[in-house]
Amino acid sequence: MSARATIERAKSEGRAALIGYLPVGFPDVATSVAAMRAMVAGGVDVLEVGLPYSDPLMDGPLIQRATEAALVGGATPADGFTAVREAGAPALVMTYWTLVDRYGVARFAADLAAAGGAGMITPDLIPDEAAGWHAAADEHGLDRVHLVAPTSTPERLALAARSSRGFLYAASLMGVTGERDLVSTTAKDLVARTKEVTDLPVCVGLGVGTGAQAAEVAGFADGVIVGSAFVRALMDAPDRASGLAAVEAVARELAAGVRKAASVAAT
């Protein structure tokens, strides 16, 4: 099933979809893939498979630590295809563009499609620079997910919408990845402004970490994107088994959150 179909199905169940991020290779490739499966078991609908990069300038300290460790462990972009293949849910690769550029965008798209990937989220590839990726994605039937930000003008929102397929990623606050105490009020405005220019599902990421926050975001977005909370669960665990259990528990809490949205929204 495609990412969009999965998000639409969640919608038909009267809830938002839960989208979970984990970098491949942390703490090792096999454990990261097992953790992705645990996320799916706990209720994650769509997976974002992160590719570790040496200069993650959009990530906060937590994900930096995880991806640095993954690189020390020898993780490569090709390990992302393994994760996509084995994750057990619709999966998109999320990556800094230079890794794809180096791999070769046509070959990357072909290998991603061959692994059964749904598409790619490109946080540092704005539509203006994405002609090559768009062509490759079209050739292989892959989703191409661009980001919108609170600083995006109406014209840029429309450009991102026109350029995307699958869903749109609303980076709900200005800053890098990491959990926040409060869900930013700008998130709701951004989703509303984005929905004015597109019928694509709009999913919200950056800063969401708890079931209550997931419920709040699910009140106005089609999908809730969570990353750092999963990474933290895996990082803080004393051993592999408890790490996988912790990741699944976080997924369960968030999955319950996205199903509580209706009652939260009503209050």
């Binding site: 959009m58 906060g60 180096r102 704005i126 620079e129 919108v148 930000a149 991102a160 980076a171």
Partner: protein, 412 residues
């Protein structure tokens, strides 16, 4: 008749692209700020009042035009019996001690114009950090400078200077703890605080419009040097040498000569232990096509596209990428890029100290080493113009250790 392309001047080329290099590989969240900056600097450069203010600060604060100094004793020691003439463009005499102030003052004025109150900067050797802290103090802006922990140790003097000037210096402990990681951290700050903050990039690198804008704020070096060389020698130089990390001083002096085909332009990258050892910072000579800090250019990277740590005795050149306009000048053959290992740079450093009474920055010593090579090649009829991009006070600690100038147990 020449083809149209051959007549198109190389000077005045602006981004976002320089051939296959450049562009904007950045999060959507920063697009608005880059558009705002692009518009602000284009408007400002076309406005007599803004340019008048910049020019006034150059004359009354920075100390422009900077001198040109002939270095005959250096040339003789370096070139043997039939030395070429070597001319030094003295950016080391600028206020704060390097060319970095040209760009910092210009961008600080733009920050005011955009109504922002805070500037952030990355720094390697600390020269750009000091220049930014200085411009911020002069114009009443808050300044935060990100600096790798390793660089804070090897350029401790500049850390103190920045703090005296009222800037906050934040140590960066991620990655290789040098310039590249300082730039990562500054980008993270910018995307979080973009509303009131301008990222005052010090190199001719980063996303559009930075490579173009920084070059336009630095090209005064070449404009002056071209005029001064004509006045001093009666003709243009045969070769212009400049060191290249990200490449702001080099593009600054090269630009005025781009359409003088008889003038060879030579960029000297940091060769570290030697390009063949893999421990170097020579992105053009020893890197591959990649994306770093928002621009497509030559990058030191492994087979998977992960950035490889650079190595150089010079903190200011210790960067695994290069400005996109340099990558393009290399591609079209207009400029030549060569690497200078640490040892050869330090030899040139010591020679300039002893023969001319000028202590250069170790960065600039790479350009001096290039001038020695070029001078030997050209012989007595040749003229080599060198961008002496900075002074070496900040480097006395490194030099003392390198040459063993502090006796064991001297204690103080």
């Amino acid at each position: 008749m020449h083809a149209q392309a051959a007549r198109t001047p190389l000077t005045g080329r602006t981004g976002p692209y320089f051939g296959r290099f450049g562009g904007r590989f950045i999060p959507e969240a920063l697009v608005a700020a880059l558009e705002e900056l692009d518009a602000a600097y284009r408007d400002a450069l076309a406005e007599p009042e803004f340019m008048g203010r910049l020019d006034e600060l150059h004359r009354t604060y920075v100390g422009r035009p900077s001198l040109i100094t002939e270095a005959p004793r250096f040339a003789r020691h370096a070139g043997g019996r039939a030395p070429a003439r070597i001319l030094l463009k003295r950016e080391d005499l600028n206020h704060t001690g390097s060319h970095k102030i040209n760009n910092a003052i210009g961008q600080a004025l733009l920050t005011l114009r955009m109504g922002k109150t805070r500037v952030i900067a990355e720094t390697g050797a600390g020269q750009h950090g000091v220049a930014t802290a200085t411009a911020a103090a002069l114009l009443g802006l808050d300044a935060v400078v990100y600096m790798g922990e390793v660089d804070m140790r090897r350029q401790a003097l500049n850390v103190v200077r920045m703090r005296l000037l009222g800037a906050e210096v934040i140590p960066v402990t991620s990655g290789s703890r040098t310039l590249k990681d300082a730039m990562n951290e500054a980008m993270r700050d910018w995307v979080t605080n973009v509303e009131n903050t301008h990222y005052l990039i010090g190199s001719a690198a980063g996303p559009h419009p930075f490579p173009t804008m920084v070059r336009e704020l630095q090209q005064v070096i070449g404009v002056e040097a071209r005029r001064q060389t004509l006045a001093l020698a009666g003709r243009l130089p045969d070769v212009v040498c400049a060191c290249v990390g990200g490449g702001s001083n080099a593009i600054g002096i090269f630009h005025a000569f781009l359409d003088d085909p008889e003038v060879e332009l030579v960029g000297l990258e940091a060769g570290g232990d030697g390009v063949e050892t893999g421990r170097h910072a020579a992105s053009v000579s020893g890197g591959g096509l990649g994306i770093l800090h928002g621009t497509r250019t030559f990058v030191l990277q492994d087979a998977h596209g992960q950035t490889v740590e650079s190595h150089s005795i010079s903190a200011g050149l210790d960067y695994p990428g290069v400005g996109p306009q340099h990558a393009w000048l290399h591609d079209i053959g207009r400029a030549r890029y060569a690497s200078v290992p640490d040892a050869e740079a330090m030899e040139a450093f010591a020679l300039l100290c002893r023969t001319e009474g000028i202590i250069p920055a170790i960065e600039s010593a790479h350009a001096l080493a290039g001038a020695i090579r070029e001078g030997r090649r050209l012989g007595p009829d040749g003229i080599v113009l060198v961008n002496l991009s900075g002074r070496g006070d900040k480097d006395v600690d490194t030099a003392a250790r390198y040459f063993g100038l502090l006796g064991e147990g001297s204690g103080e």
